[in-house]
Symmetry: C2
Amino acid sequence: MTFWKILWQKKINISINQHKNSEYDYQNDIIIQDFNYKNDKVPIFLSKNKRIDLYELEQLCDTVGWVRRPLKKVKTAIEHSFLTVSLFYKNNNQTKMIAFARATSDNTFNATIWDVVVHPEFQRKGLGKILIKEVITELRYSDINTITLFADPQVINFYKNLGFIPDPDGIKGMFWYPN
Amino acid sequence: MTFWKILWQKKINISINQHKNSEYDYQNDIIIQDFNYKNDKVPIFLSKNKRIDLYELEQLCDTVGWVRRPLKKVKTAIEHSFLTVSLFYKNNNQTKMIAFARATSDNTFNATIWDVVVHPEFQRKGLGKILIKEVITELRYSDINTITLFADPQVINFYKNLGFIPDPDGIKGMFWYPN
């Protein structure tokens, strides 16, 4: 076999393996074995894999009324996020994304959490807490000490309960938008 | 010349050119020709190059009383920032960094500005405004619409004058620190 053929074959093998991992790795991290859902018990999985079904993510965002975003931009945002955390449930061999969060970071000092979403049917059951705690754990594992976010009024208390402080020392979150 | 030799020579040339650009490109962007400084007139340069003298940056941060940071972490933070903007002045062939800002981003939706610093001897002369306006211009050029930051109380009005809005729609900036 020639050099190029060997290289090509290796490349294909790597792709296949990566795909396999990305498609199934979240099944390894069961966070709740028997979650009560529609008179049934379903397992909930957690994944930090960035290979996300973008349609499924945007469908999840639809359920909480977010404005639709171009999938190309969503893809870019995920690729350039430091971290994504997704929750899934599995029922009758069907897997469904039910929660998501991501964080941007300089990889060492600061991180900012964006796009936190939990499917309405799965809210108020502790999954949001699990999601954000996992984000914090992962960021702390990378020795990132300042974790920030911008909270809508209705979720300020949720984040307070997780240890987030609004406006510490009078520091003010500020936004610039195009006119 | 063999294939590998040609490749190697190209690589060396690229390295040399990159180094040349990184070391001198900021001299091309004069933003103020005759800036009054200590009874002299000096030119002020702007650079978006990430190859920054880390010692000089930390010396600049010293002048505004910031806590010293491990240079290795500063290097990582700059490498993983979407953008850095630095201002320099030049006098008698000596170049000195006098202002700096950087932004993290997901490269498409959101960005957060960090580490904004202007040397005390150069403050209140419009350089901070030039710095942040350049950050905004660059982020907008990449179609990033939501530009955020966390402002200390004494600079909230400075950012308001640049079009930043504190707590829009009751959105609250929140921080999590390790205990």
